[in-house]
């Protein structure tokens, strides 16, 4: 039976080697578009071409043709990199995956679960520390408990207290205990709501993000709409009108961007020019931020790397978040001020680019490209409002001196950071 995944393995190996599609295609004497078809398993490949590609990728041809489960191997490498101190035999990972595929899957699944749990812990820590409603409720409860404890101790310890004072303190106890009951009910209601799958969202924006994520940020209807004047309607899956409005505003913007940068032309341009938003903005004669938004909506199987996107207003509040693995975006608390996103706000209309590294055990590098642009065309007498947008792309070749950035201070292990706002719960290496 013909193995239908040879192309996927080639793509996997090429990405691992940090090689662009066009580069590999040229080296083996075929066009990039033909290699693209091969990589998407739409053309068969064997014989000399397979041998040439294997040679360029420095792998055994059998790894491409028979496949020691390239995806599995990649995940094992990833897991091994996280536990480098255990000195796993990375050079024999192919052999391990071939001989013990079941155990290999156990390792990769466990590794994936650990990652998910770590992410959940980060999110929960972030929430407990920065959720303003929870913090306000807890402060109120502690104040009432303090008043009750102090008053009760007076009544208990002072046997000769005057009747009018005794009556006054009894009344205070009664008032505080009632308020305490109401506050605790309010907290329980809030936490119950958070536990409910429907309401496990702190704000309408979170609900919209879940919706976009479940659609992989790609909407075929908005791609094909030929009349941008007709705003798309979001399906009625939201629990609030506010979320519905945000989703429709997103889809309207999506439709406008898609009309200016149709998917076919966009993919062709990316193949020719790469994903540099400035070059693409010149090609399509659109703002750089529009290109960034558009890149974040393209199907991932058409791109060499996953693409993350984040935008903020001039106050630093995050307005939109498309997260990618390894670059967490805080939900409630302030983000790291060293992100190029915020540097862009200091230099409106000037593209800012930096290779950054998120520290910790799973340190990864990202190419971050940002720009701050006015929300609307400038007019005399109107103060401009700027928003900044940042594209986040994983780096395949690590650079020696990246800028060290974090997610948010609370969960950032970097020591001696001049931008630190508060103490971290993590230490370097966590």
């Amino acid at each position: 039976m013909r193995d239908t995944l040879v192309g996927s393995r080639i793509r996997e190996r090429r990405v691992l080697a940090g090689m662009r599609q066009a580069e590999l295609a040229t080296s083996v004497g075929i066009s990039a578009s033909y290699l693209n078809l091969i990589e998407h398993n739409k053309r068969n490949i064997a014989g000399k071409l397979l041998l040439d590609i294997a040679e360029q990728l420095a792998v055994e041809p059998s790894l491409l043709s028979e496949g020691a489960e390239a995806t599995l191997v990649a995940k094992l490498r990833d897991a091994g990199a996280d536990w480098a101190e255990a000195v796993p035999e990375i050079d024999r990972v192919d052999e391990f995956a071939s001989r013990f595929p079941g155990w290999a899957r156990v390792i990769t699944k466990t590794h994936q679960q650990i990652r998910q749990l770590e992410h959940t812990i980060e999110t929960l820590t972030d929430r407990l520390t920065h959720d303003p409603q929870l913090a306000a409720n807890m402060h109120e409860v502690l104040s009432m408990v303090t008043a009750i404890r102090s008053t009760a101790a007076i009544l208990h310890d002072d046997q000769e207290i005057e009747p009018e004072w005794r009556a006054r303190f009894h009344r205070n106890l009664n008032e505080d205990s009632q308020r305490l009951a109401e506050s605790t009910q309010s907290i329980v209601g809030y936490l119950d709501g958070a536990a409910d799958a429907e309401a496990n969202l702190a704000a309408p924006m979170d609900e919209v993000e879940q919706y976009l994520k479940s659609n992989n940020y790609h909407f075929a209807d908005a791609e094909s709409a030929l009349s941008p004047g007709t705003p798309p309607t979001a399906p009625e899956v939201f629990t609030s009108r506010s979320a519905q409005d945000i989703a429709e505003a997103y889809l309207t913007q999506y439709q406008k961007d898609a009309a200016l940068m149709p998917i076919g032309r966009m993919l062709h341009a990316i193949e020719e020019q790469g994903i540099d938003p400035c070059l693409l903005a010149d090609t399509f004669k659109v703002p750089i931020a529009a290109v960034m938004r558009r890149l974040s909506t393209l199907p991932e199987n058409h791109l060499a790397n996953p693409i993350g996107l984040v935008s903020c207003d001039a106050a630093g509040s995050l307005l939109f978040r498309k997260e990618i693995e390894g670059f967490s975006l805080p939900r409630f608390s302030g983000a790291c001020p060293k992100w190029p996103l915020f540097q862009a706000l200091q230099r409106p209309m000037q593209p800012v680019r930096d290779i950054v590294e998120m520290p910790g055990r799973d340190a990864r590098q990202f190419d971050c490209m940002a720009i701050a642009e006015p929300v609307e065309r400038g007019r005399f007498g109107v103060r401009p409002i700027f928003t900044a947008t940042m594209l986040i792309v994983p780096v395949s070749q690590a650079v020696p001196e990246p800028a060290l950035v974090g997610t948010t201070c609370r969960i950032c292990p970097v020591d001696n950071c001049i931008a630190r706002r508060e103490v971290s719960v993590l230490s370097e290496g966590v």
């Binding site: 502690l142 007076i154 002072d158 103490v423």
Partner: protein, 122 residues
Amino acid sequence: MGKRVLLIEDEPNIIEAISFILSRDGWDVATHSNGHDAIDAVHARAPDVVILDVMLPGKSGYDILSELRADTHTQNLPVLILTARGQSKDREMAERVGASRFMTKPFANADVLNAVKELVAP
């Protein structure tokens, strides 16, 4: 007349309880319940010791304390910080801005009384 203590706190029943405990012990207690003009209250009352809540309407206890420390008339005034937040970073913050003592809510009445006594002991 006992020594003067100024209690700056916005929760009325805590004010009442602490005022009662200190008055019973012979202290001359004055109270103030917001951050806006807390500095004015300190100057007007000229207390021997201040009990200062952190989360106050108008201005935080830390900001008030910073201003007190920047003023030569109050830079050495004993100040006991009371807060519902007892994490190490809150304690560090209190030390940084010049708190004489730091106490977390809920507290024992005897602890507050002892702390205040120690702060004005010769």
